[in-house]
């Protein structure tokens, strides 16, 4: 089953401030999109709306499942997953207990072995019975990745997923994001990773979509120039 999203003239206001202004684009299966822009450009706002976490103030946001328009948020959420700098896991449960809970919440019926395999994928196989709160920041982020991948989503939303990760963690995450079965939308200040992993780029500036580009039309140098053009602080 394929999942695609189209949006037209999407706007979001918080009181008098406009976070996003008339943005139109589409996400198709196979898209790996990097959203770029400086702080307050509206990246997270857009990501939250696409992930069904908040509703737009105006504009159209259409989700299609297997080619048919779908309004049922619950049905859509079954195919979406969200990974942010917040781990979204319970501190007083162990890593495995957390994953078991997510497993039942999404009705995936994964076996105990499958859950351990998932922990192994993120390099946490030895820490399954450890209380989440006693894990370090980087370990928590790895577990959070396991949580996001558990439902085997069609589309993954990533909001600064690399924060707190060491080199090994970043490498593992890169390998997992290269999976062809999954599309994703990424917000990060890691310019190099943002370029390497994605095949499309959206550049936001003050709530407007300035550019929407394919990777084949964009060299790394041009990409850096564009990012700096939107007065973004380059990190890493």
């Amino acid at each position: 089953m394929t999942l695609s999203i189209r949006f037209h003239e999407l706007s979001k206001q918080f009181g008098e401030t406009i976070a996003l202004w008339r943005v139109s684009e589409a996400i198709e299966p196979g898209d790996r999109i990097s959203i770029l822009g400086h702080n307050g450009a509206g990246k997270s706002t857009l990501l939250h709306m696409l992930a069904t976490l908040s509703k737009p103030s105006s504009g159209e946001l259409t989700f299609s499942l297997a080619g048919e328009t779908c309004d049922d948020v619950k049905k859509l959420r079954d195919h979406l997953s969200f990974l942010s700098h917040e781990p979204m896991l319970y501190p007083d449960l162990t890593a495995l207990e957390n994953l078991r809970f997510i497993n039942r919440l999404y009705q995936r019926n994964l076996s105990e072995d499958a859950l351990r395999e998932l922990l192994d994928k993120v390099g946490m196989s030895d820490f399954g019975d450890r209380l989440f709160r006693t894990c370090s920041r980087g370990m928590q982020q790895r577990l959070s990745l396991a949580r996001a991948l558990l439902p085997q989503p069609k589309l993954l939303f990533l909001d600064e997923p690399f924060s707190g990760l060491d080199r090994g963690g970043v490498e593992r995450m890169k390998a997992l994001f290269a999976d062809d079965q999954m599309s994703w939308v990424l917000v990060t200040h890691h310019l190099r990773l943002g370029y390497e992993l994605a095949n499309r780029f959206w550049i936001l500036h003050r709530g407007r979509l300035l550019h929407s580009l394919q990777k084949r039309d964009l060299t790394y140098e041009a990409y850096i120039k564009l990012c700096e053009g939107s007065s973004m602080e380059a990190s890493a």
Binding site: H48, A51, T52, L53, S54, K55, K74, K75, L76, R77, D78, L80, S81, F82, S84, E86, P87, M88, L89, Y90, P91, D92, L93, E97, F101, I102, R104, L105, Y106, Q107, R147
Partner: protein
Amino acid sequence: MSGQVLSVFSAVLRKDLRRELRSREIFISSFLFSVILLMVIFYASKTSGVQLEAMSSGALWLCILFSGTIGLNRTHQSEMVNGCYRALILAPVEGGWLYLAKVCSNALLLIVMELLLLPLLVLFYHTDIGKNSGALLAALVLGTLAFTAVGTLVVVITANTRMKDVLFPVVQLPLVVPTLIAGVNATEAALQGKTADNWLQFLVAVNVVFLAAGFLLYDFLLEE
């Protein structure tokens, strides 16, 4: 479908109870708070010359109300830590079942605390709790369920505001006045060895209306 619903319901319920059993933070804070309240209520009303036994049902319900309010607030806060609540919002789950599971876990914790408070009532207020224990249990269970049915909704409502910790009690307490009146009277009757049918029926009605309302409304609160 019903099997799936049950699985989600029990997953949330078990998760909440396990978390609380492990941290015991809510339980310890609200139980200690209740013990302190029992003492404070005694000294605050001593001069009025009310008999100790006559005060016990009111004192018990004050404990339920205040430590219940603290407890509900705390449970929701621990759900907000690490953005866990966001994970619940994003899960493909009917909000209504989520709500019922939360009401169950909150009510269960509160009822356990009440059962532990009863011996203290015997000790501090010389109450005879054995006269009609069936009616007493019914009053406590129905009253607590009504309290949490409203509270579980209101805590999410106020969590969306800037001043959540202050607003929750201010919004919640007026809404539980009927439950308080019914609970105190039903408990009082039970302590005297009677059964207050009209009050118990009243509590059943409150439960039916608000559990149904919460079941239907909770989905609207699951957005950011």
